[in-house]
Amino acid sequence: MELPVVRDVRFFLAHTPGLVRHGYKPTLDVARDQALWSKAQAYLRPYADAVAYAPHQVLLGNRTPDSLTDLPQPWYNHPYSNSSRRGPHGELMSEEELYGLLRASDGFDFIWLEDGFAAEAQGLLERHPLVSRKDLQQIVGVPFSRIEEKLADGTGALPLTLRDGRVIGLIRRRLQDDSSLAADILLENLAAKATATAALRAVLEGSGTNPEGVQYVIGSGEEAVGDRYNRGGGNLAKAIAEAAGCVDATGCDVKSFCCAPVHAMIIAGSLIASGVYESVAVVGGGSLAKLGMKFRGHLAKEMPILEDVLVGFAILMGRDDGRSPVLRLDSIGRHTVGVGSAQQQIMEALVSKPLDQVGLHFRDMGKYATEMHNPDITETVGTGNVPLTNYRVIAALAAQRGEIASTAEARDRFVAEHGMPGFSPTQGHVASAIPYLGHALDSLRTREYQHAMFLAKGSLFLGRMTQLSDGVSFILEANPGQA
């Protein structure tokens, strides 16, 4: 059996304040109260603030998750002076550039950019290392008068705007009456495709991998790609593989709400271990529907609308190279049907059981990567500190086993040492465990610790086909061949 390793990961963030208007919640609320959006616009962050936002710098790899522990909240009041749009784990792009990428990702002329803006976007992307000549050629404009006409003709086109409200283009729907190909759905799908493609290109470039060397791409995003007869039919993965130049790859999508990326990594590891493929990429695109999800709460607190970034990611996995951390296929934790819905039982299935399977203890894990939602975003609207609650449960399980003392001090120490503050944008599947992967690969390579556990949960009940949630986990281990 081949040993599957995780070779590299990249995150691609796009700051999209103008697109917040097209998030599901803002769309719904503004339809009921038009005045709401003019109020909300004043709370959209400029690009420089999004770059200097410490949690984003953690995701890009320019500072560690633990460095947030000493940073007073709210973090948006403490911009990071050493910030950069690029870091070892990824990049954060501006909305002007992202609109250019959306147009380049669109092979069906759904997105129209205004002439002047198309030229501006082209100019901004011209020297970008991940943008090809073909992409640039795709970014063509139309006269503004055509955009005005189209927006007014009642065919369901949506305006595309910048943070300041300026209309720079539109997205139109397919001509026939197909709600699966309506403008808002196509925008969601193109946003996912463009951000995942940029991440895949970045991880290939960063790891020195030829796109032709990837044999399989697994999509793990939450968007439903398809037409009226195949809603959610999927395989955005292959579209992303194509856009990234992976000509020798096919692929498929794996769906399980927020825990799909962890499922996908386990499947990728299994395909490599069995010898079916040598090189597999796991990708996920940004979730447009979740932009501005809690904007009402943020407005009520008179704070910036923090859900203003799309995040795509790409993970490169392959056969043992003697260096990269190993995904231990004997350590898989599963929230099976019989486990039920109680948090306690779920966490036992995802954490305690896998540790037993491989004969390791709670404190053997250098870090636990769980739902990494940024508390700056969630605490202000009453949904609590998600990662902290998870870490306290893991500590309580460790105490129940007698592996740490049953005192509050011992539990707090465990949480501080083996947990971390949340730093991920609330982008659904992106926030579940995956945001820590870049830092875990770094720490496992330098042997700061030997093991890290990744666990993710998914709210299946939201689809109303079951009352259950789902969850999976695995342990990542430093490569045994590494000196």
């Binding site: 109680a342 948090q343 306690q344 009453g382 949904t383 609650t389």
Partner: protein, 94 residues
């Protein structure tokens, strides 16, 4: 509620924070305070309890409670959660 009526009906929550518990409690009593869901403007007036409250805990088999709830009980801010839910009941005389 349409089928069984309000009599003898109690809602039991398991929400993990006092804030979310209060939102759910208000949703099921005076109507959704965020005006987002289907219960916006619908006052069901149902008594709402949290599973951590002694009135509910006392009715559950201790073995089952240990297996399914005790870890969460040790992690959550039990007093704040109980305070949030019971004060919604209190304010509406439920």
């Amino acid at each position: 509620m349409k089928r069984y009526g309000k009599k003898d009906m109690v809602v039991v929550l398991g929400s993990p924070t006092s804030e979310s518990a209060e939102v759910f409690a208000r949703t099921l009593t005076e109507g959704d305070p965020s005006w987002v869901g289907p219960l916006a403007g619908v006052a069901l007036g149902l008594p709402v309890y949290h599973v951590l409250e002694p009135e509910i805990k006392g009715q559950i088999d201790p073995q089952v409670y240990r297996e399914q709830v005790s870890i969460m009980e040790s992690v959550l801010d039990v007093e704040a959660v109980i305070q949030a839910v019971s004060s919604v009941r209190g304010s509406l005389g439920l």
